[in-house]
C-alpha cells in the first residue's frame, strides 16, 4: 500500500510539472496534467498485473 501511495505522489508531482510546461491555455494545461496523472496510474496498474503473472523464481 505504501508503494502505491508513493507511486501516486510521484505521478501527481510529475503531472504538475508536465502540465505547467505544456503549451496552450490554462484549461488545456490542466487537462494535460490530469491526463498525464491518469496515464501514470493506469500504466502502473497494468504493468503491476502483468508482472504479477510472470514467475520470476
Amino acid at each position: 500500500m505504501r508503494h502505491l501511495l508513493w507511486m501516486a505522489v510521484f505521478a501527481a508531482l510529475t503531472a504538475v510539472v508536465f502540465g505547467i510546461a505544456a503549451k496552450g491555455d490554462d484549461r488545456q494545461k490542466l487537462i494535460y496534467g490530469l491526463k498525464v496523472f491518469a496515464e501514470f496510474i493506469a500504466v502502473a496498474f497494468l504493468l503491476g498485473w502483468i508482472l504479477y503473472f510472470i514467475p520470476f523464481r
Binding site: 505504501r2 508503494h3 508513493w6 505522489v9 510521484f10 508531482l13 510529475t14 504538475v16 510539472v17 508536465f18 505547467i20 510546461a21 503549451k23
Partner: protein
C-alpha cells in the same frame, strides 16, 4: 531581402536576461518564474521539484557523484545519474558540501523509490528551467 533576414534574426535573438533567468531557475527551483512575476506557476513547478527532492531524501534515496574511485564504464554509470541529480541545482551542492544524501541505504525498503524521486526531481527542474527560459526569451507565454 538581406535586411529583412538580419532584422528577423535580431528579433529571434535571445535577450541577455533570459540566460540569467535560466541560471536562477536551475539554481533554485521556481526562482526563474518568480523573477518574472509568474508566482503561481513558479510555486507549483518549483514546489513540485522541492517536494520531490525532499521526499526522495526522506525515503532513503541517495544522490550520485563521480569520484576518483571509478574507472571506465563505472564512471559513466555514475555520471549519467549525477547529471540528473545536478539538475536540482544548489540543493545538490549544499548536500554535497554537508556530506548528506550521498550515502547508500540499500537496506531501506523505499531506497529505490527515493533514488527515483531524487533523479526525477533534477530532470523535472531542467524542464522547469527551460520553461522559465522560454518565457524570458519571449518564446512562450
Amino acid at each position: 531581402m538581406v535586411a529583412n533576414r538580419v532584422e528577423k534574426d535580431r528579433d529571434m535573438s535571445t535577450p541577455g536576461h533570459a540566460w540569467l533567468v535560466g541560471l536562477m531557475a536551475w539554481a533554485i527551483p521556481g526562482a526563474g518564474h518568480f523573477m518574472q512575476g509568474r508566482w503561481l506557476r513558479g510555486a507549483l513547478a518549483g514546489g513540485a521539484v522541492w517536494v520531490m527532492f525532499f521526499v526522495g531524501l526522506w525515503l532513503g534515496g541517495h544522490m550520485y557523484a563521480v569520484s576518483g574511485g571509478q574507472q571506465g564504464f563505472g564512471t559513466l554509470l555514475q555520471l549519467l545519474p549525477m547529471i540528473a541529480n545536478v539538475g536540482v541545482g544548489l540543493p545538490y551542492f549544499v548536500c554535497w558540501l554537508a556530506n548528506a544524501g550521498f550515502a547508500e541505504h540499500a537496506q531501506i525498503v523505499t531506497y529505490e523509490s527515493g533514488n527515483t524521486f531524487l533523479l526525477v526531481a533534477g530532470l523535472l527542474n531542467y524542464l522547469v528551467m527551460l520553461d522559465a527560459f522560454d518565457i524570458a526569451a519571449g518564446r512562450k507565454k
